[in-house]
Symmetry: C2
């Protein structure tokens, strides 16, 4: 018997979290035991509140506390520029760049025929409806640069181009601050193909 039942229960629940193994679960559990009651309960309440108040944006399918997410509801964003991402978690990194002022569309995954995930399993119909009803000028395909993401981007490009909407894809190339020496050949090949005049 390594721990009191309620400590064991907490350990079990913590170990479910992504990136939290038995050792980090124990570290977190002892931190929770050690910390003052109010701090621990704030965490518990934040978890419950997020499940109670957050659902999906009716426009872009991002997480949202109201009918529309903050980005779709914002009049200062360019609603004629849509960035298509696989998951809601892909939006914060793009927002942090401060380079993009358009809106988003969350597919809820990527095409993966081997796993039985086809176009009907993604929010593609909703995207096409948005493109039909608004004067969208450009769709940026920001799915991941892996097999599923590239397949999804190619599929969407074929679907959207006939509508006369400009379709773009995130550039592939060397990561800024990276080292030529350690770049894989596919990335380096893409960087060469997409070389720019200076």
């Amino acid at each position: 018997m390594l721990a009191a039942p309620s400590i064991q229960k907490l350990l079990d629940e913590l170990e479910r979290l992504p990136g939290v193994g038995p050792k980090s679960a124990q570290r977190i559990a002892y931190w929770i035991l050690n910390t003052d009651r109010a701090t621990a309960l704030r965490l518990a309440e934040a978890i419950a509140e997020v499940k109670d108040t957050v659902s999906f944006c009716s426009c872009c399918n991002n997480y949202a506390q109201d009918d529309l997410c903050d980005i779709c509801a914002s009049p200062s964003r360019n609603h004629n520029l849509i960035c298509v991402v696989s998951e809601p978690r892909d939006i914060p990194p793009i927002e942090r760049t401060a380079v993009f002022d358009g809106v988003y569309h969350v597919l809820g995954g990527a095409l993966a025929p081997m796993d039985g995930i086809g176009p009907d399993d993604l929010n593609i119909a909703d995207l096409m409806k948005r493109l039909a009803s608004a004067r969208v000028e450009e769709v940026v395909l920001a799915t991941n640069p892996n097999v599923e993401g590239e397949t999804t981007a190619a599929y969407l490009a074929r679907l959207i181009k006939p509508l006369g909407v400009k379709v773009t894809r995130l550039a592939s190339g060397l990561p800024v601050g990276g080292d030529l020496e350690f770049a894989d050949e596919v990335t380096l090949g893409r960087a060469l193909e997409a070389r720019r005049p200076l």
Copy 2:
């Protein structure tokens, strides 16, 4: 604006946890958003329950759900053998060895004169009371093998030995599976001093 307010609140609380930085907080938050309501609430409730039900064992000062912790309450443990540790978190690793069948005493820290932590700040008086009232045969000093832990062990040994109780210390030496080449000289020196006939 990177996230809805309740998601931001959850991120803030998660980042307080030990070993959880902004990236892991985001990974965990999206996992919580993605997972079913029941699983997320089980974690929230486990946190609240641990704060509501766990206090300190009146005998050894370990975390306990009742007046006594499971170990102090167990008749199958050897109550004449006390292992002294700094923190409750030091008990599970010792229990996992399955080598120790005695009971524990948690000091709640280690002597650190530089940080103003003296004997009166630790549960040393309680330990001396336990030694006076029970027929304890051996005290194993299992404070950490660092400056504070060694100081604490030396202090306790001087205090306990006059009572005629056997005082022992965890062995220092090479970690099992370790490499001589990479051992620091203090550890290797201790391993040499404590060499054993085969």
